[in-house]
């Protein structure tokens, strides 16, 4: 399934900026960055739970916010993309 992870992490303090970097790093392990603080991740339920747990460990719930959206299939109907960035479909042919 495809999930959308988006977050706001407070960057007022250096501790916050550190959390921001760590959140992005964890998200990258599961998917790809589609906008500054928005990630698309193709994961199964178990992976989503671990991702959620890992992120909750990092963020400070008093300062930051974290949102998960689950996108229903078929993606061709429920996902539109415009503009210069094109996401990579990790399940499609990968040739470099």
């Amino acid at each position: 399934m495809l999930i959308l992870v988006s977050y706001d992490v407070s960057t007022e303090t250096s501790e916050g900026r550190r959390r921001l970097r760590r959140v992005a790093k964890v998200c990258l392990n599961y998917g790809q960055r589609v906008q500054k603080s928005v990630f698309e991740c193709k994961v199964n339920l178990a992976q989503m739970e671990t991702l959620k747990a890992e992120l909750l460990d990092i963020i400070d719930e008093a300062e930051d916010s974290l949102r998960f959206y689950r996108i229903t299939e078929p993606l061709s109907k429920n996902l539109m993309e415009f503009g210069k960035f094109k996401a990579v479909d990790f399940e499609d042919t990968l040739i470099v």
């Binding site: 790093k25 964890v26 599961y30 992976q47 990790f90 990968l94 470099v96």
Partner: protein, 344 residues
């Protein structure tokens, strides 16, 4: 049920792959070209000079991800092997079966029956689709002849007889195969017999390359199931030769590789410009052609078909895996026969 995970193909020379967190980054001239989370990947197929960072190598060895290096024409050059693992009891059963003449013969016979039936199927499909009465007649006739060979298989009492039947059928098959091509494509793909090391015409270059891709998938499937890819039944054991992977490949040559080759040619997705000729008469796919073939093969692997034995929908890419499991079941004596993959 195993899930078909993706394979990352790297054809750009001097690419560098490294581990970053739980992802692999493909670096080309110090630029990050692609970053893929490892959970999407079960295999890497790398052409020519592609380097992996030690951390990534270690990680792949540990997780049992298949990493294979092929040269430009698809010839196997190296692969990564992690700690010896898998099911030793299964491998013991495999070794015992290889010592037992009757069991060896039974597996070899099943594998060949699958191969011949599937080759016949490709010819029959060609016969159905052609408009030319002459082509149709030849294809149907060859299909019948191969059908006769299949009936002779149970009578063959030793491996040499089996291999003889295989040789005869292969010759018949390849003689008729050009007739499955659309007439307008035949000029670009002249082909009258199978040749390799090196391939001497475009069609041979194309199928050799596809066989190499399927073979590396067969090998990975065997290793995943825990069988030893080197100890074959139909193919004799030789140092360095993945005999069992070659056995497994037999069932898939016609329906997966040959059929895909013909489709690419008939649809005009490949043309003479996708091949280069080398000195000495060798013909090889060039970079552009190779990418077209890999992309088509990957798409084909995603297609779902109903497995005739398992009676469930399986992506084509998992067929070798399914057969490796059926073979393991037979070797463990859970079932009385090994049933080859029969394409519809």
């Amino acid at each position: 049920m195993t899930i078909l995970r993706n394979t990352l193909y790297v054809t750009t020379p001097d690419a560098y792959l490294r581990l970053e967190g739980e992802t692999v980054c493909v670096m080309i001239e110090d630029e990050k070209r692609l970053q893929v989370p490892l959970h999407h990947l079960s295999a890497f197929v790398l052409f020519d000079h592609v380097m992996l960072s030690p951390a990534l190598l270690g990680r792949c060895a540990q997780d049992g991800r298949s990493v294979v290096w092929l040269n430009r024409s698809g010839k196997f050059s190296a692969r990564l092997e992690g700690p010896v693992s898998g099911n030793i009891l299964l491998r013991q059963a495999q070794f015992r079966a290889a010592e037992d003449g009757a069991q060896t013969l039974s597996i070899a016979r099943a594998v060949l029956a699958g191969k011949l039936r599937n080759s016949r199927q490709v010819l029959m499909r060609g016969a159905r689709e052609t408009d030319d009465a002459g082509d149709k007649e030849v294809l149907v006739r060859t299909a019948k002849l191969i059908g006769n060979q299949v009936r002779k298989l149970p009578l063959a009492g030793d491996l040499d007889t089996l291999r003889g039947l295989e040789g005869d059928s292969a010759r018949l098959y390849f003689e008729s195969l050009p007739r499955v091509m659309k007439p307008q494509a035949r000029a670009d793909f002249p082909f009258d017999n199978r040749n390799r090391r090196p391939p001497r015409d475009r069609f041979n270059a194309l199928i050799s390359f596809l066989y190499a891709l399927v073979l590396s998938d067969c090998r990975a499937a065997l290793e995943t199931v825990g069988l030893d890819p080197q100890l074959g039944f139909l193919h004799a054991v030789r140092p360095g030769r993945p005999a069992l992977a070659l056995d497994l490949l037999e069932e898939f040559r016609a329906p997966v590789a040959d059929r895909l080759a013909l489709t690419l040619i008939n649809r005009g997705q490949l043309s003479a410009g996708d091949f280069d000729e080398r000195e000495g008469g060798a013909v090889l796919l060039n970079d552009k052609g190779r990418k077209t073939v890999i992309a088509a093969y990957q798409t084909r692997k995603q297609e779902e078909i109903t497995h005739p034995v398992l009676k469930q929908s399986v992506p084509v890419g998992l067929l070798p895996h399914g057969q490796a499991r059926l073979l393991a079941r037979y070797l463990r004596q859970d079932v009385a026969h090994y049933v080859p993959y029969l394409h519809r």
